[in-house]
């Protein structure tokens, strides 16, 4: 009996040891948050963030493993060294920079206020009163915004926090919330999932830059690789004159670049089309007969053409 138990338990422990010894970088991402990261019905992890991570890994010659982690647990996981990179539409904030280091920015986002289509509000200001319930995802800048600009200032609204963004949207559709505050691209995605039920009431100009994050001090030297990888993918920066002493970064995407095609593939086409395109194209990214730069270009172009075609 004892031996049989040992036979059962031993492989489990070896499995654990094996996973620790593997030499590749672990990318943590909060799934689902389409179009930046989500799981297809078949269980593939895809999305803009994840494919940027995959492409950079191919270009810079390392391997990645994508691990779904709840949004508010990603930074703790990075700090504890349990994962190496956080790629989950993280806004670069001073508060987060105290505990982690960010890559160069890769996306500019604002917060959208999502309400039911039949709502009587004409502008966000009509909504921010009267005990209305506003949903947001725990740990996001949207939740922060509601807390610090409404709740803390004594505006009569109630902030309801969710572990994932889709659950907040579901409660909005079912009438348990009056609004959901979330980044614009994700809100657009919800809108296309519920065209008859939802509308975007307005956009709060928060001018948030997304960045990939690693542990403070970048112990594994990943940030130079990620930044160089983004350049190689075709993302450039123009600096605008400082506003209130802060330089404003403007993105410039090189035409006919992998970055250009990834944006085209992920921001616009419906999820089903992106998923079938991804399934058809992902092989080209790992087709060793081509050089890394070619593989990345072929993959991004294939994805954009099939998703929007």
């Amino acid at each position: 009996m004892g031996r049989r138990i040992a036979i059962l338990v031993l492989p489990l422990f070896l499995l654990g040891l094996g996973a620790v010894g593997a030499e590749k970088y672990i990318v943590a991402s909060d799934i689902p948050w389409a179009p930046f990261e989500w799981a297809s019905p078949e269980g593939d992890y895809l999305g803009f963030d994840l494919d940027v991570m995959r492409c950079i890994a191919v270009l810079m010659g390392y391997e990645i493993e994508i691990r779904p982690v709840a949004f508010d647990s990603i930074i703790p996981a990075v700090v504890l060294g349990e994962v190496d990179i956080g790629a989950s539409g993280f806004t670069i904030t001073a508060k987060r920079e105290e505990v982690v280091d960010f890559s160069n920015p890769y996306w500019l986002s604002n917060q959208a206020v999502l309400v039911r289509r039949d709502a009587v509000f004409k502008a966000p200001d009509d909504l921010f009163c009267c005990g209305h319930k506003i949903g947001a995802q725990r740990g996001t800048t949207g939740a922060d915004w509601v807390q610090s600009n409404l709740v803390d200032k004594g505006v009569d609204v109630q902030l309801v926090l969710y572990e994932t963004y889709p659950e907040a949207v579901l409660d909005l559709v079912n009438g348990r919330l009056d609004a959901v505050v979330q980044d614009e691209p994700a809100s657009q995605q919800s809108l296309s999932a519920y065209p008859d039920d939802l509308k975007i009431l307005g956009v709060i100009e928060t001018n948030e830059y997304f960045g990939f994050l690693v542990a403070s001090g970048d112990p594994k030297g990943l940030l130079p690789k990620i930044n160089e990888g983004m350049l190689k993918l075709g993302l450039r920066y123009d600096l605008e004159l400082p506003v209130e002493g802060q330089w404003k970064v403007k993105f410039r995407i090189l035409p006919d670049s992998p970055w250009f095609y990834l944006v085209q593939a992920y921001f616009g086409p419906p999820l089903e089309k992106v998923e079938s395109a991804w399934k058809a194209c992902i092989g080209t990214l790992y087709d060793e007969t081509f050089a890394p730069a070619e593989r990345v270009f072929n993959f991004a172009k294939c994805l954009a053409e099939r998703a929007s075609g």
Partner: protein
């Protein structure tokens, strides 16, 4: 539900099943761990000198009293503070396994006490050592008596495996949430599918344990002396 929702639901089944496989792996790991530790705890509680028995009672008290979710966090994140790195899967097996060992120990303790002290005295009187008596006389009967309450524990821990999602194990519940997040219309049907999976597994598991009980039944065997300490 629209046609595309049905299609997504069907597409999601293989992904859910691969998640369910993880639940089963956790189940076998935790049951094996719980069984091995549980029997030891029960034997120590019944047969060892008072101080050791008291330690075993303390162990049982701790692992029965702390919520499973807290145990998962303690083992997974807590060990990390001491640079002990284990995967979420192993952490789930250990946390849920130790919790189960505390419950299983009480099942086995009750069964051992039900066999009665007179059998131990009889075994010793014919020259067996205590270990021999436990191995050849007490446990064969106690394990038979344990099967009905043990099937209860089986059903309970089977469902507990979904808690592992809280520390990042991508099992069936987590996969169902991915699918719901991808297509909101599937919120109800996808969890109904998950519920059916577990109803089926509970049924099969309990049927198998019932068959085991019938297979090893001894006609005329009855329990005496429950609640005694030897």
């Amino acid at each position: 539900m629209a046609a595309v929702d049905w299609q997504n639901l069907v597409q999601g089944i293989p992904s859910l099943l691969s998640g369910l496989l993880i639940n089963l792996e956790i189940l076998f790991g935790l049951i094996a761990l719980g069984f091995a530790v549980g029997i030891m705890i029960a034997l120590v509680q019944v047969y060892s000198p008072r101080p050791f028995a008291a330690l075993a009672v303390g162990y049982e008290w701790f692992f029965r009293g702390v919520p499973e979710m807290v145990l998962l966090m303690l083992i997974y994140f807590g060990l990390r503070q001491f640079q002990v790195r284990i995967t979420p899967f192993i952490a789930a097996v250990i946390a849920l396994g130790l919790r189960s060992s505390a419950y299983q120990s009480q099942i086995f303790r009750g069964a051992i006490q039900a066999v009665g002290r007179r059998q131990m005295m009889a075994a010793l009187s014919v020259g067996m050592t205590r270990l021999q008596a436990i191995r050849h006389v007490i446990l064969p009967q106690a394990l038979r008596l344990s099967i009905p309450p043990w099937s209860n524990e089986f059903s309970s821990v089977l469902k507990d495996t979904t808690l592992a999602s809280a520390i990042g194990v991508i099992e069936v519940f987590k996969k169902a949430r991915f699918i719901m997040g991808r297509n909101y219309a599937l919120a109800l049907p996808i969890f109904m599918v998950v519920a059916l999976f577990f109803l089926f597994l509970t049924y099969v598991g309990n049927w198998a344990l019932g068959a085991l009980e019938r297979r090893y039944r001894i006609p005329g065997f009855e329990a005496k002396g429950a609640g005694e300490r030897f």
